[in-house]
């Protein structure tokens, strides 16, 4: 079956690219779609993100993991223009992206989803989908008033949206308000809507959070599908089973910096990663000063978390 060979070849080529790659943070990739240099973001005294160098391989599924408060979502926000970095530069397809506003980042083919799903509640599922399409003639004020200008394009968009809805098994809900969907269905809708943009790089912020187990497999399948269609995926996740299952490469963040990279099979046995998750010298008894500094770190992380929560 052609589909199958495609699947294996995409996955194989992605894996082949990562073969024998050093497990060092910031390791260069043969064909990077996204290159990040020295991105810093501070909130008051707290440095939330301080990434020296990181590259994302084109056509791969890369996972971004790390303990709570590691700065993963903040890093996502910097890259996608939702928050302004204090310093640093990054390129997408060789084009500089620092300081570019969020909507232009998306237009360039770098589309994200959110940790807390942002379904547009009082729009129907189909309208949610249509919104994702780019370069719509009917989105300009003057042309909007005369349907003849945009009818044809709208029909094409609707057709594409319906194909995607079928693929994501949401076609039965097309006329329902998005607000009436379940949590998992909203995640699916958000992903499908992101695909309407026709992105090259899809950035998923915790795609599995709050999804019931029955839907997990189907969501995983969809993420793998993105790679098979030639897209690059970068996702933040806590669930290590999922990371091991679908990712080709894993980047680990802790306290705002990238501390390790490696293939999913071995990354969790990396000393630095274990330290990050469990604390340094987790088997040795702690001295008073160490205890204090750990407490401070935990506090800072918690504060960042709270801030993140309250701003939602």
């Amino acid at each position: 079956m052609p589909d199958d060979t495609m699947t294996t070849s995409r996955k194989a080529s992605a894996l082949a690219a990562f073969k024998d790659m050093p497990r060092e943070p910031g390791v260069p990739k043969p064909d990077p779609i996204l290159v990040v240099d020295k991105v810093v973001r501070r909130f008051g005294g707290l440095t939330a993100v301080d990434v020296d160098h990181v590259e994302i391989q084109r056509g791969s599924i890369t996972a971004l993991i790390g303990p709570n408060g590691a700065g993963k979502t903040t890093f996502f926000n910097q890259l996608t223009g939702f928050d302004t970095a204090d310093a640093g530069a990054w390129t997408f397809n060789g084009r500089a992206m620092n300081g570019v506003p969020a909507h232009k980042v998306a237009r360039n083919g770098m589309v994200r989803t959110f940790q807390l799903t942002k379904a547009l509640s009082r729009l129907t599922v189909l309208e949610n989908m249509r919104l994702g399409a780019q370069k719509q003639k009917g989105e300009s004020f003057w042309r909007a008033m005369i349907p003849a200008f945009w009818r044809g394009q709208e029909d094409e968009i609707t057709e594409r949206a319906e194909e995607l809805l079928v693929r994501f098994k949401l076609d039965a809900k097309r006329e329902d308000f998005a607000g009436s969907l379940s949590g998992g269905q909203r995640k699916l809708l958000e992903m499908a809507r992101a695909l309407m943009v026709e992105p090259e790089l899809v950035m998923l912020d915790e795609p599995m959070a709050g999804v019931n187990p029955a839907l997990t497999q189907s969501l995983l399948g969809h993420v793998k599908d993105l790679r098979e269609q030639g897209m690059t995926v970068l996702f933040v996740e806590h669930d290590m089973d999922m990371v091991r299952d679908i990712s080709d490469w894993v980047i680990v963040m802790a306290q705002g910096t990238v501390i390790a990279e490696g293939p999913p099979s071995t990354i969790m046995s990396d000393e630095r990663v274990i330290d990050a998750y469990l604390g340094a010298h987790h088997d040795a008894p702690l001295s008073d000063t160490e205890l204090e500094s750990q407490l401070h770190e935990a506090e800072a992380a918690l504060e960042a978390e709270i801030e993140e929560e309250t701003q939602k």
């Binding site: 942002k118 509640s121 909007a144 349907p147």
Partner: protein, 328 residues
């Protein structure tokens, strides 16, 4: 009790100048608040700059009537820019505070002695409607049935006014079923999601603020044209608040919601006010004086508004389901 007067004034209010002026103001607010989720609490300022733009152009600068209209429209557009640039990138409550403050600035400047030569201080400006009524094609007479009816001056005003109201509704209808309107509604739901889909949210919010402001400014023209004058204190926060009450009464994000809302609002407002005044005058409510009817009427609007939002936020004709989805 003079029931005939109560009933005729009530009926007149439903189709009269009040519904035209407040209907237009509310159509503007509906674009801002109902469709885009922008909390513009300075709609009165848009009406004021338009009304004064017309009045000052005609009476002070001696320009023709149409130039006055153009100046009024331009003033509203500039006001939208001035309000929008600092606030449209901020949290919703900042826009509310800034627009309410801006409306107050506009009112204070218009009523100031310092600018009395231009804006006429607290007396405002009058004497700019001649050209409008000179265009009246209706011959003098009474138009209506029995006690219900208007003279040729009012009927001309209402003919133009309701045409503009219907035209505005048509524009809103066409825009809101287009992809452009879809972007606005999506911004109302979650602007970050819209940004992530490659739409320039700021630009759409600005377009919405401007469109709603310009429709609101038409309300300012019609206020001036009917009353033959503009005074600063008419354009206070109460006027904006009435427009919000009307939008929610008729159902937010509905094309005809503001129009129906305005008619219902004015029927209730005039009926309750006149009935109370009559009751007081005839000694049925001994603890009240006629001057106290005014504040009680306003207080009742406030109470009604609160009850409406708490008990029936979708308005009279709205769909409960839609609101329930939004209650997160």
């Amino acid at each position: 009790m003079d029931w005939l007067t109560i009933i005729t004034t009530t009926v007149h209010a439903a189709i009269g100048w009040e519904s035209v002026v407040y209907g237009l103001a509310a159509i503007g607010v509906n674009i801002h608040f109902g469709y885009t989720g922008l909390l513009n609490f300075g709609q009165a300022a848009f009406m004021a700059v338009a009304g004064y733009g017309l009045a000052v152009a005609v009476t002070v600068m001696n320009l023709p009537f149409w130039m006055g209209i153009v100046i009024g429209l331009a003033a509203a557009a500039i006001l939208a820019l001035l309000l929008g640039i600092p606030t449209l990138q901020l949290r919703a409550d900042y826009l509310a505070i800034v627009t309410i403050a801006a409306a107050e600035i506009v009112r204070l400047v218009f009523r100031s002695v310092y600018f009395k030569d231009i804006f006429g201080g607290s007396d405002g400006r009058r004497g700019f409607t001649g050209d409008f009524y000179a265009m009246n094609p209706f011959p003098p007479g009474h138009y209506g049935i029995g006690p219900f009816g208007f003279d040729e001056r009012v009927i001309w005003f209402l003919a133009v006014g309701w045409s503009v109201v219907l035209l505005s509704c048509l524009v809103v209808y066409l825009l809101m079923k287009s992809p452009w309107g879809r972007v606005l509604k999506a911004i109302r739901e979650d602007e970050d999601a819209v940004r992530a889909l490659g739409k320039n949210v700021f630009s759409y919010k600005m377009q919405s603020l401007m469109l709603g402001g310009i429709i609101g400014c038409l309300a300012g023209f019609f206020y001036g044209l009917y009353n033959g004058a503009v005074q600063p204190d008419i354009f206070g926060t109460e006027m904006t608040f009435f427009a919000y009450t009307i939008v929610i009464l008729g159902g937010a994000a509905r094309v005809f919601g503001p129009v129906v809302g305005a008619m219902i609002f004015w029927v209730l407002f005039v009926f309750v006010g006149n009935t109370l005044a009559e009751l007081v005058r005839n000694g049925f409510i001994p603890f009240m004086t006629t001057t106290q009817v005014g504040p009680i009427r306003y207080a009742l609007v406030g109470l009604g508004f609160i009850l409406l939002l708490v008990i029936r936020p979708q308005g009279i004709f709205g769909d409960k389901r839609e609101i329930a989805i939004n209650a997160r």
